[in-house]
C-alpha cells in the first residue's frame, strides 16, 4: 500500500507556504504531518487536503546550544502550535526576538510561513518546516 502523501511532497508544498494534511473518510479527523493511517482511527482511507496553517502556540523554547552544523542559528525559538484544524505541529517563531520568549507566548495566535533546513550530511537532503509569526 502506498502513502497518500510522503514527506517529499509535503515539504515541497510547504516551500509554497501550503500546509498539506490528510482528512479521514471514515472518521473525519485530520492528520498532519502525514502518515499511512488516520491518527484517530487508523484507517488508511484519507484524502489530501490543504490546511489553513493558523493556530495557537501551546509551548515554546529558545535554544542556545546547537547541534553540530547549526551553531550559526542560535538563539532560535521553537514552538509547538495547535492548528485550528486540530493537530499539533512543530516549527520556529520568526519576526520575534528569541531572548524575549516567555510564558506570555502560550495561547498566542500565529500564522504560518516556511523556512528550509538545507540539510547536513546525516539528513538525506533538505526539509522545510513551518515558520510561524504572531498575529496582532
Amino acid at each position: 500500500m502506498e502513502h497518500k502523501l510522503i514527506f517529499k511532497d509535503y515539504s515541497e508544498a510547504l516551500k509554497q507556504n501550503k500546509l498539506l494534511g490528510l482528512k479521514c473518510r471514515a472518521c473525519g479527523a485530520i492528520t498532519t504531518p502525514p502518515k499511512m493511517v488516520c491518527r484517530q482511527c487508523a484507517s488508511p482511507d484519507m484524502d489530501i487536503i490543504e490546511l489553513k496553517g493558523s493556530g495557537k502556540i501551546r509551548t515554546f523554547t529558545t535554544v542556545y546550544v546547537a547541534s553540530e552544523g547549526r551553531e550559526d542559528e542560535v538563539p532560535y525559538t521553537i514552538v509547538m502550535v495547535e492548528l485550528d484544524d486540530g493537530p499539533w505541529i512543530m516549527g520556529n517563531l520568526g519576526d520575534f526576538d528569541p531572548a524575549q520568549a516567555s510564558m506570555e507566548l502560550v495561547g498566542k495566535k500565529v500564522k504560518m510561513g516556511h523556512k528550509v533546513f538545507p540539510g547536513d550530511k546525516y539528513s538525506a537532503g533538505e526539509g522545510a518546516r513551518p515558520l510561524f509569526s504572531l498575529v496582532n
Binding site: F7, P33, F60, T61, V65, E71, M80, E82, D120
Partner: protein, 395 residues
Amino acid sequence: MKKVAVVGVGETNFSGPQDKTEVELFAEAAMEAITESNLKPEDIKALFIGNVLGDFSEGQGMVQAFAAENIGCHHVPANKYEGACASASMAIRDAFIWVASGFYDIVLAGGVERAATMGTGLATRTFAMFSDARYEYPSGITFPAVFAMLTHLYADTYGIPLEKLREQMAKVSIQSYRHGSVNPRAQFFGKNADMTVEKVLGSFMVSSPLTLHDCCPFSDGAAAVVLASEEVAKKLTGKPVYITGVGQSSSGPLCNQSDYLPRIRAREISSRRAYDMAGVTPQDIDLCELHDCFSIASLIAAESLGFFEFGKAGEAWEKGEADIGGRVAINPSGGLKSKGHPIGATGAGQVYEVTRQLRGEVEPERQVEGARTGLTDTLGGDGGTLVNIILQRGW
C-alpha cells in the same frame, strides 16, 4: 513461564570522556557481573547489549559481537538493542523474556556508550536523531529543547507559575547531586553536594527555561547484569533478585503525542504492564531509579509512575517525599543527573543500582533501609521507547 533472577551485576564508573573503547568498557562491566555471579564466560548462553551511537563515537558498529569475543563468550548469539536512552533496558527485558521462556538459562545483558567522547556538538546532533528527523529536526529540535517545551507546557497545564516550577525543578537537581556525590561510580562523585537553587537558576541557559544544572551530562560508561532461571539462580547465590514485572511501550513523534502531553502515554502503559505483571502497586515501591535526563523529566516520570498526583510532584520533592526516607526513594544513585547518562548503558546502570540496593550493599549515606521492591524507568527519545522493570528480593 520460569522465574528469572538477577544473579550478578557489574558497572564501570560513569564519567566524562574515557580513553577506553566501548568493547573495553563493556568487557569490564561484564566480567564484574559474571564473576559476581560465580560463573565463567563459557556459561553465558547469549549476550544482549544496548548501544546507540558507537558508530558515531568511535566508528564501531556491531559492538556486541566484538564484546562477546573479548570476554570469552565465544560464538554465542550476540544482539544489539537500539531504543535511544532505553536501549539497555530493552536488552534486559528481552533477556528476561528469553530466560522466562526456558530457551536460555543464563543470559548476559547490559549496555555501553561513549556519549561524552563525542563532544557537545556531535552529541547534541546525534541525540536529536531520536526526534522525528523529517518533521521535527528541521526546526532545530534538540533534546534539551524537547524537555524545555514540556516544562512550559507543564507550567501551563497545571497552572504553576514558571518561577515556582523552576525552583521545584532546581530542588530535583539538588537532591540528585547530593545522592550522586556519595556514589563512587557517579560522574559527579564528590561534587556539587553544596548545590543551591540560586546556582541552578543562575547557570547558563541551554534551552529556555532549562539551565545547565537542569540537564544531565553526556557520559561514557558501561553496565551489565547476568540473568538466570530460578533453578540456576538458587545454585549460584543466596541473594537472588527476581525480575517480577516488565513493561515496554512506544510512541511516535512528539507532536503526535499531543493528546497526552506533558504526560508521556508510553510510560503509563509500560509501567501499568509492569505493575500488573508483578502484582504490585506504586505504593509497594521502596525505591525507583527513574529517567531524569532533565529535572522536569523527574516530575513528569514520578507522576506517570503513580507516585504523586499530576502537577504535584514538585511539591513532593520540596517536602522530601521523593528522597531516601520519604514515600519513595527516587534516584538514590544520583540518577542520570549526577550518576551520569551513557545512553546505551543507562538502563543497565539502573538495574545495577536497584539490585545492590535490595541486597543492602550501597554506601550507608544512600542506602534505602529494608528495601524489598524496586522499579526502573527508562525513556528513549521523546517518549518513543519506554521500559519499566520491577525487581524484588528473593530471600
